[in-house]
């Protein structure tokens, strides 16, 4: 909310803080100031100038040559504005002045004539966008006086952030009360200049009150618990006096006309949204507060928008039709304008929830609905109306006709809340006496039943009736007014919690560290994706390009690879662990899984002068896939070549990861051509996507095995393997036929090409044999090798190379 510093000072005469001080103070009371601005802050050099003469420039058709009284002498000024005229007053920037935006005014010769300053347009002094002419000002001025002072621009507007529970702070009085309570002053309402001081008489009733032929009726007391109306006749609609305009501008509001400004003034001062109807345009004349009737389905609000209305909404109607959306916005047809002479002033109490659903359904939020949603003071309604009438009479004239009509189906009753002193200490950790509680809460308007030393019964003032309803709410008020900083902050002992650390975090951390150690960078990408990458749709997306939650994570990384390519980066190695969303059924929450995605492209190793660069290849990606799958699935996962639909990957260069139960849990390989928008210099892009296990299996502690004491014997086999026989099958056969003595079998070379029979390749395998209890003899090993070779030939058609 925009708060005028000068207004606060008027409300708290004892306020000894400057605007900065107020901001600091409010921050520590829970209402921080987001921004402070002063329209006059940059206009200190500008003065009020009186144009004495204005004649044509002798050498230029479009320029005038003027004499300006600027207080310290008469200046000669060349002016380009069409609206300059002798005898008028304008903002004047003398030589040496610096204007907003940094323009410095210098003495200059323009087309041969000396100019000793500048008459300013609104745009030049930052007061608007108008640059069609200079800003003529009206009033009683002295030449050379400060422009800021003369125009009342020395106020400071503070943008105060009000939390959703504190509707009472949506007014200058509310803020003033908060300041005053701590400065031991008191907030009081200043006198309205020109207020004739008429005391209203009242006529109260329900559901209908009538006087002088004007009738007000509440048909729906659940949504409107009170409606006060006052008839004022003979008003003269026109601009507000300067004090009222200044006051409104200081609070960031735009002056409109005296009656509307009066209602806005009261809203900004007391927090009561009010509305003035043109009485002559109300059928009846009557006000009926009711739901729309069948057939009443549209309504044109003040902002000239025709809106759809529904039976749940509360309308303010005249004798025939709706004239306003209750608590949200008035209607165009009954608006006060320059022809208006008689007005009906409204001040009412609406149900916050109904206001909220109505204004949401209408897709709008107004100053009024914002306040009603958060709750306005139900206690001071009559005072507010009395004051509003004073402002209208002072600024628009007229007279009050008859008693004020107070339709009141539910009279507000103040709440009394119990407060146990022991509970305060249980929550806050510090004892508070009853006397101290009184001292803290009384200045905020809380009153106490009885004056005992023990537990307390506390009456909540109307303006706090919305947020203080329970004991804990009072305890918060005590902590807040005592000052959070006044509480000690000694770290005490604590009991350990019962919640075990979720092992998935540790597994994710382990994977992250393993991948970082292999030279990958962790990426973070938001989960929103375009159509085709997910089946869970956001129903109210703001970004319609990416309305889905991702099912797979890799495409998000591939887009980041593209972005890196577009910036000329060739080597990109990214990974991310993120949530994948999957639709399970209509109306149900989606299933969520944690996925690891990896995208790689470029050189295998960091460049070094000692060796030529090698691009990443399929074996890098297979190895990485095996390592992460093994880490995630504790060694139970297998990586095998993919068959069938390769998806995001290129057929023939894709692997599938299966968990211990044989279920596919991941894929990896070369990303399909065309999926990534790559420049010509870019290398192949490799990708991996691995689902994390549903349950994290604890890692079994390794059990010690004695390290071998006896030497090993190695044999190298050079095999001619038909292309149809996979290397894995060869290795598997070797292992099966050498079980007892074989320690390890490693493929150390594969050769394809010249000198080999058709459709065969040469695979070299190194076998290492060892016996745990003795030294192996060559002959014994040779026998085993011969046996293996025989089986390879027999089972697979694999022969030793000659």
């Amino acid at each position: 909310m925009n708060v005028s510093y000068r207004w606060l000072r008027d409300l708290v005469p004892g306020l000894d803080l400057d605007a900065e001080g107020v901001a600091e103070h409010l921050a520590l009371r829970g209402a921080p100031v987001e921004e402070m601005s002063s329209p006059g802050a940059l206009l200190g050099d500008v003065v009020v100038g009186h144009v004495l003469t204005a004649g044509k420039h002798p050498n230029a058709d479009r320029l005038s040559l003027c004499t300006v009284d600027a207080g310290d002498g008469v200046k000669s000024v060349v002016c380009g504005a069409p609206n300059v005229k002798a005898g008028s007053w304008y903002p004047f920037a003398p030589v040496g002045a610096v204007l907003p935006g940094g323009v410095a005014i210098k003495k200059a010769k323009i087309r041969g004539e000396v100019s000793e300053g500048m008459l300013c347009s609104p745009r030049e002094i930052g007061l608007g966008s108008d640059h069609s002419g200079i800003l003529e000002i009206f009033g009683d001025f002295t030449p050379g006086e400060s422009f800021v002072g003369a125009m009342g621009l020395d106020d400071v507007t503070m943008d105060v952030e009000i939390t959703a529970n504190r509707g009472d702070l949506l007014s200058h009085l509310g803020i003033a009360r908060e300041l005053a309570s701590d400065r031991h002053g008191e907030a009081r309402l200043p006198e309205i200049p020109g207020d004739p001081g008429i005391e209203l008489t009242w006529k109260q009733g329900a559901p209908e009150v009538e006087a002088g032929g004007v009738r007000i009726r509440i048909d729906d007391p659940d949504l409107c618990s009170r409606f006060v109306g006052v008839v004022i006749r003979g008003v003269e609609i026109g601009p507000s006096p300067a004090w009222l305009q200044e006051q409104l501008r200081g609070a960031g509001a735009r002056p409109i006309n005296n009656v509307v400004d009066a209602t806005n003034y009261l809203m900004l001062e007391l927090g009561h949204p009010m509305h003035a109807y043109d009485l002559g345009r109300l059928a009846g004349p009557a006000i009926v507060v009711r739901r729309p009737r069948p057939g009443e389905s549209t309504f044109t609000t003040l902002d000239e928008v025709e809106r759809k209305i529904t039976p749940e909404m509360l309308m303010i109607c005249d004798g025939e039709r709706p004239v306003g959306v209750g608590g949200v916005m008035g209607g165009l047809d009954s608006e006060v304008d320059h022809r208006t002479t008689d007005v009906l002033l409204e001040c009412a109490l609406f149900d916050p929830k109904s206001i909220r659903s109505t204004r949401r359904a209408l897709g709008m939020s107004t100053d009024a609905s914002y306040r009603f949603e958060r709750g306005v003071d139900p206690e001071d309604i009559r005072d507010a109306v009395q004051r509003a009438v004073g402002v209208i009479l002072a600024t628009a004239g007229g007279r009050v006709d008859g008693p004020a009509l107070d339709v009141c189906p539910h009279l507000f009753e103040a709440r009394v809340v119990g407060l146990r002193l022991a509970r305060i200490q249980q929550v806050l950790g510090v004892p508070f006496t009853a006397a101290r509680v009184r001292e803290l809460l009384s200045p905020l308007g809380f009153t106490f039943e009885g004056d005992g030393e023990g537990d307390l019964l506390i009456r909540v003032p109307g303006y706090r009736s919305w947020d203080v309803t329970r004991e804990i709410d009072l305890i918060e008020e005590i902590a807040r007014t005592h000052g959070y900083d006044a509480f000690p902050a000694e770290l005490g002992p604590y009991r350990p919690g019962t919640v075990p650390d979720d092992p998935m975090f540790q597994l994710e951390d382990d994977l992250r560290r393993a991948l970082v150690a292999r030279g990958l960078f962790e990426a973070q990408t938001p989960a929103f994706v375009p159509e085709g990458e997910g089946d869970v749709r956001v129903s109210n997306p703001l970004n319609t390009q990416e309305p889905y939650m991702r099912r797979v994570v890799l495409p998000s990384l591939l887009r980041r690879v593209e972005r890196n390519f577009s910036r000329g980066t060739k080597d990109v190695r990214l990974f991310e662990i993120a949530t994948s969303f999957r639709r399970v059924g209509s109306g149900e929450a989606p299933a969520e899984e944690s996925h690891l995605a990896v995208a790689l492209t470029g050189a295998r190793d960091a460049p070094h002068w000692s060796a030529p660069e090698q691009a990443l290849d399929v074996w890098d990606v297979k190895g990485l896939l095996e390592d992460v799958a093994s880490l995630a699935y504790r060694g139970s996962a297998t990586v095998v070549p993919a068959t069938g639909e390769p998806g995001l990957y290129e057929a023939g260069v894709t692997f599938v990861v299966r968990d211990g139960a044989g279920v596919e849990v991941g894929r990896g390989g070369r990303v399909r051509d065309g999926l990534v928008d790559a420049p010509v210099w870019a290398g192949s892009v490799w990708g991996i996507e691995l689902k994390m296990p549903d349950e994290v299996t604890p890692v079994a502690s390794p059990l010690y095995k004695p390290v071998p004491q006896y030497p090993a014997v190695e044999r190298d086999l050079a095999l001619l393997v038909p292309d149809a026989v996979p290397a894995e099958t060869v290795l598997e056969t070797v292992r099966r036929r050498t079980v007892e003595l074989l320690e390890e079998a490693t493929i150390f070379d594969v050769y394809q090409g010249e000198g080999l029979p058709l459709a065969t390749r040469s695979v070299a395998i190194r076998l290492r044999f060892r016996a745990p209890e003795r030294t192996l003899k060559d002959k014994e090993v040779d026998r085993v090798v011969q046996g293996v070779l025989a089986h390879l030939k027999e089972e697979l058609g694999v022969e030793a190379r000659g």
Binding site: L28, A479, Y484, G497, P541
Partner: protein
């Protein structure tokens, strides 16, 4: 007389020689051979050294091995063992030197100012690093980690947390919905309720995770971001514990000279509620110091009794505190990143700056 002296010298020399034990002689020979190996500048010179010491015919070490039978049976085993050892050592040194001399010439007399070889360097995302640093501090303060779903229900995200859907507080986090009452959680606070449902007090957890808001991307907002929730519930937890724990965290994270400020605020699920601000005191390497403005780092408060009631806890017996912070915002402040979108761009030139 002169002849006598010459004779005496001869006798003396003989005695001195004979008193040099063969093992000592072998050690001297080893040292001599190793020096010769090291001094060999090319493969020819190295071959000469081999012949001189290990040559079958005239090699000096070979000679000693050949003379073993002439020694007394007492001496023989020890001398034999030592001679074999020296032979092996020298032989290995010859091989090694030979390999070195045979290596490409680039290695010899090389320019050692050339860059060394490094593997690719990777790194954790700076926001993950912030999460990890925060987690490590809370781990030391006795916390564990909990998690909950990112797509959750209105009950967990709002209602159970004392935020009626028809209250304006439900607006402040403009929420993305999936279907009906299923939404993308707008904060990590639903994990509070989910954790309390499954576990009895004492509760002492943090819950890092993604949250979603109906925002557009700009310098200070992204529609998805990481948040870290914290919850402590037990008997006897007070506002003092709340302040102390979070102030301790802030000083450990931002430095011991950090000032911490608690400002009243409003969250429907905590009461009293607070914003926590820090003012950092930075010592620059050049000795100068700097005090920052107050930086808002988290929202927090004492758990509202209504939340404990909704979790089935006895709110008259248990009290607690909760907090939430954005590691993205903290990383932004810490590394002076002026636009949150930079974090999601994942330009490797950016990520590399946070490599450790």
């Amino acid at each position: 007389m002169r002849g006598l002296i010459a004779y005496a010298f001869f006798v003396y020399h003989r005695i001195a020689m004979s008193e040099t034990h063969p093992i000592d002689a072998l050690k001297a020979l080893e040292a001599e051979a190793m020096a010769a190996v090291a001094a060999a500048e090319d493969e020819h010179a190295l071959e000469d050294v081999r012949i001189r010491f290990l040559g079958r015919k005239d090699g000096r070490i070979s000679a000693i091995l050949r003379s073993l039978p002439t020694l007394s049976p007492d001496e023989r085993p020890a001398v034999g063992q030592e001679a074999n050892r020296v032979k092996q050592v020298v032989s290995a040194a010859l091989d090694e030197r030979g390999t070195a001399l045979a290596a490409p010439k680039a290695a010899a007399g090389e320019d050692l100012t050339l860059p060394g070889r490094h593997p690719w360097k990777g790194g954790l995302h700076p926001i993950t690093q912030a999460v990890d640093e925060i987690w490590e501090i809370f781990r030391d303060l006795g916390f564990t980690r909990a998690r909950g779903p990112e797509a959750d229900t209105e009950w967990y995200n709002f209602v159970a947390l004392n935020t009626p859907l028809d209250h304006p507080a439900a607006d402040e986090q403009d929420t993305l919905y999936l279907v009906d009452s299923v939404l993308l959680r707008s904060h990590t606070s639903p994990v509070q309720m989910r954790t309390m449902e499954k576990h009895e007090p004492p509760i002492r957890i943090i819950a890092p995770g993604w949250v979603y808001r109906r925002d557009t991307y700009d310098a200070t907002h992204t529609p998805a971001f990481l948040q870290i929730e914290g919850l402590v519930v037990d008997e006897g937890i007070t506002f003092i514990d709340f302040k102390a724990t979070l102030a301790e965290f802030a000083r450990r994270y931002w430095g011991p000279d950090t000032q911490v400020r608690f400002r009243p605020s409003f969250f429907p699920f905590t009461e009293p509620s607070a914003e926590v601000d820090v003012k950092r005191f930075i010592r620059h390497p050049d000795g100068s110091t700097e005090e920052t403005d107050w930086l808002e780092i988290m929202g927090a408060g004492m758990v509202d009794p209504a939340v404990l009631d909704n979790a089935g806890y006895d709110s008259e017996r248990y009290t607690g505190f909760a907090f939430g912070m954005g590691p993205g915002r903290i990383a932004k402040l810490k590394h002076h990143v002026d636009d949150l979108r930079t974090f999601f761009d994942n330009d490797v030139r950016f990520l590399r700056q946070f490599s450790k």
